[in-house]
Symmetry: C2
Subunit: 308 residues, 2 copies
């Protein structure tokens, strides 16, 4: 049975930039919303829109049919869902937890099994599309979990997603997100290495990007991040430290599955080098700094550069 | 002074799939054309359109104002341009050679200097866009060389290109092409590693690609090559052995410029492994086979897969 705004009470745990923007769409669709965040002030914009505040994940879950979690690290996911004061301690029978955090596939499967043993559901549903996608409600969501539970939460996901892809079984949403991050990391590396080569060869970098962006070398990285690099704009769309978390999860999953991905390993190490040099709060395009360091040269800044 | 179809005699050396399709556009634009190819039969379609045949590069150059070369390896470029029976042995003063081959930036600079000392010009102008771009006349061309010579050949390039990007000085067109190939190689690696991970995690690969293609992981590789991999279509759009040639040139240029590109080095080695296993005549998407081999597993074939 699809969820209905009139009947389905939604809980929301984690109201950082991503969570707050997603939850806003849920309120605006007419669902009653109860929220909790470690730092209460970050939930204020949602309270201003009519959300109720609860003092713990358990208190949120006590009054909700479906609880969304959007927190930081796998350890946070574990705590808010299965901790002493976590969602599963009070969630009613048949209730559903939807974890939007990018987290460990193994943990997702473990929590889903724990919940299932008690007649509840945990669905993993990491997102892509960044803060802009969250604001516009055009995220892409990768969902794994019990099919009936997924069907039930789908209408709520549709409030902030333009694409919802459902895979079979718990943890598969996280696995899809990992494969996505693996592809991005190596694509970003190729984009940066092309820039470093072009600069070393004395090419005008704006002309270079114009020449390659529309062809076989084209990518989201070339289109969206290379122009920021030329403007020396290292502002985070997505933090280096969060990407390092994701790539670490991916490598650990590879280890468990006995999968060898040399490109991922290399890209991860170069991203770790950014943390080593204090660049963890920059955006992922800062990968160029790692390549600049190993080459002892820095790309010029084109303050006037505008995307084509 | 721009070239005029009525006056400018064009020579064409190298009429393989790429060269033949490009030269066809030149004839169709009204330029008189003289051609030479090591295997004469491959020039026949052009002769049928009215091109004249000459028995050597030197004989082509003797009757041409501008001579295009589109051959295989840097050694072929050197031979047809500066060899005993090469273009520069007969080309008239002020004549221009345009090398469309993807070749060494250093060789391009060397040949340009050699020609300049004799009052002739050699322009490097490698292309991207593949056989389809050559057929449609929508190639992207990256040009380096003497500015006056480049201005003169530009109208002829426009016969088969939709984008012509001019860089400053001999060899820079080749350098741009190298940076392009570097970006492609690593992007292709990321796409393949994402697929291997997704398969190991048990995801439906078609759903996986649908979920990631429109977001931050999107690229020409994901859009055009991943679907071929799912259909197990390893037909060459671009041969592995030619890509290995290009990446080898890029690595050599890196060595000369003292530039370290670890992603390029890794991707190049994985492509070399395809040659080691006899896959050099497959298309570049065959990189997946290298990753399959190091992981002891093969992706499933979806004969019904169609691009989204």
């Amino acid at each position: 049975m699809p969820a209905s705004p009139a009947k389905t009470a939604i809980g929301w745990i984690g109201t950082g930039v991503m969570g707050r923007n997603m939850a806003t769409h849920v309120i605006q669709a007419g669902y009653p919303l109860t929220v909790y965040n470690r730092t209460k002030s970050k939930a204020q914009p949602l309270l201003d829109l009519g959300a109720r505040y609860a003092d713990s994940p358990a208190e949120v879950a006590a009054v909700s049919d479906i609880v969304f979690t959007m927190v930081g690290y796998p350890s946070d996911v574990r705590e808010v869902i299965s901790g002493t004061d976590g969602v599963l301690s009070t969630l009613k029978e048949g209730g559903i937890v939807v974890d939007l955090t990018t987290s460990e596939p193994g943990l997702a499967a473990e929590l889903a099994a724990l919940a299932a043993a008690r007649g509840r559901f945990v669905v993993d549903a990491p997102v892509t599309g960044g803060d802009i996608g969250a604001k516009k409600g055009t995220l892409s969501i990768m969902v794994g979990g019990d099919k009936k539970a997924v069907d039930e939460v789908k209408p709520v996901l549709d409030c902030f997603a333009s694409t919802v892809t459902v895979f079979a079984g718990p943890g598969t949403g996280q696995h899809c997100k990992m494969a996505n991050q693996i592809t991005i990391a190596t694509s970003m590396l190729g984009m940066c290495e092309g820039l470093v080569y072009a600069h070393a060869a004395g090419l005008d970098l704006e002309s270079y990007l114009g020449a390659i962006a529309g062809g076989g070398a084209g990518s989201f990285s070339v289109q969206s991040y290379a122009p920021r690099i030329l403007k020396r704009d290292m502002e985070p769309g997505f933090y280096v430290e969060h990407f390092v978390k994701d790539l670490g999860i991916a490598l650990e999953a590879c280890k468990q599955m006995r999968v060898s991905l040399p490109g991922l390993a290399l890209a991860q190490q170069l991203y770790v080098s950014l943390c080593a040099c204090g660049d963890e709060r920059l955006g992922t395009q800062a990968l160029i700094k790692s390549l600049e360091r190993i080459n002892g040269r820095t790309l010029p800044t084109k303050s006037t550069f505008s995307a084509w």
